[in-house]
Amino acid sequence: MKKNFFSTKAGIITAGSLIGITAALLVYLGNPKNMGFCIACFERDIAGGLGLHRADVVQYIRPEIIGIMIGALLLSLMKGEFRPRGGSSTVIRFFLGVFAMIGALVFLGCPWRAFIRLAGGDWNAILGILGLITGIAIGSYFIKSGYSLGRNYSQSRAAGYIMPGFMLFIFALLIFNFPKLFNSITGPGSMKAPFIISIIAGLIVGGLAQRSRFCTMGSIRDIVLVKDFHLFFGVASFTIAVFIMNMILGQFKAGFEGQPIAHTMHIWNFLGMTLSGFAFSLAGGCPGRQLILSGEGDTDAGVFVLGMITGAAFSHNFAMASSPAGTGQFGMWGTVIGLIFTFTIAFTMTMKRKSV
């Protein structure tokens, strides 16, 4: 068995720290505050850039997302780990992605951003992380009881290249300045690190996360489920790295009120992330991990990513996404319907397993 440094404790801590440093630097260089890398927010910006929603402050084809998937593709090809696969309840994963995004946009951030917000002194993130732990604990209970979306199967190489190909295609639209792309003039979508920095940062993070199997959801799940702290070391070092960098760069500001792109409705910060964490745990990976798996040829993860992009469109079109002013008009409805959906999937895919 060939040894992978990044699968060791030292390796995951190294990877987590480097990803955290990158996130803080991206904020310093222009990305939205306490966002750095927010997979959900940036996929939402991509949905906006493609015109799928009308929230004109969050529209931009974020090169970070493209870089992460392509970085994972390149590393997995180099290491012989690119393996096209799919067919594990793919259509269910699409809608888990939809609702994971709806929950994330009620909180205003994915699990990655929850830790980045914490490291920036935004105490609202504590509610989000508690919700995340709750959602993952519920998911873990079902997993322990036999929940499974079923096996995947080998697919053709062409299938494995589809999602990276889609990312490269929208990247081409961006660099050739396709006139029909939407681009925010104001708001978070207009705040961006220099293009070349963004894409390189994405590639680095994608590579590191591919080698280390970095997963924010998994870090909590593995503690709950098998008392394994391996991934947690990665997420902890990630958070600490962001915190230290924020202190150095003067980006740390503690408190609940007036935090950038955040609201203070505790119950919805909690419940939004409960939904999101639950859905990510049922799908087997946090939003970053789903990008990495897509790059490795996992087409089910790819469809989950498409579901997240679609979910972002619904979030904004149906007024479910929060804003600094608080939850959207239908954010509560989205959260409740999402929880009903995820519980239904969790129950049915557990009962099914038992009857086999």
Partner: protein, 69 residues
């Protein structure tokens, strides 16, 4: 000898199946996996329990052979 086929299963199911096997008394067992990530996770689990194992690379999967003590 028990064979645990974890091929095509998402994280964390392979690790959970192996954990169950470890709880189920002594004997040899083998685990089939087609994911590098699962292979590393299982290897880390076995190492943490001080269980000796060896791996064998097949065409499209890896076999982990272990003996509980």
């Amino acid at each position: 000898m028990t064979t645990i086929d974890t091929r095509g299963l998402s994280c964390p199911q392979p690790v959970i199946l192996v954990t169950r096997e470890l709880a189920a008394g002594k004997g040899s067992f083998e685990v089939l996996t087609d994911s590098e990530c699962s292979l590393e996770n299982i290897a880390r689990l076995l190492e943490s329990r001080n269980i000796m194992f060896e791996t064998e690379q097949k065409d499209d999967h890896t076999i982990i052979k272990a003996k509980k003590v």
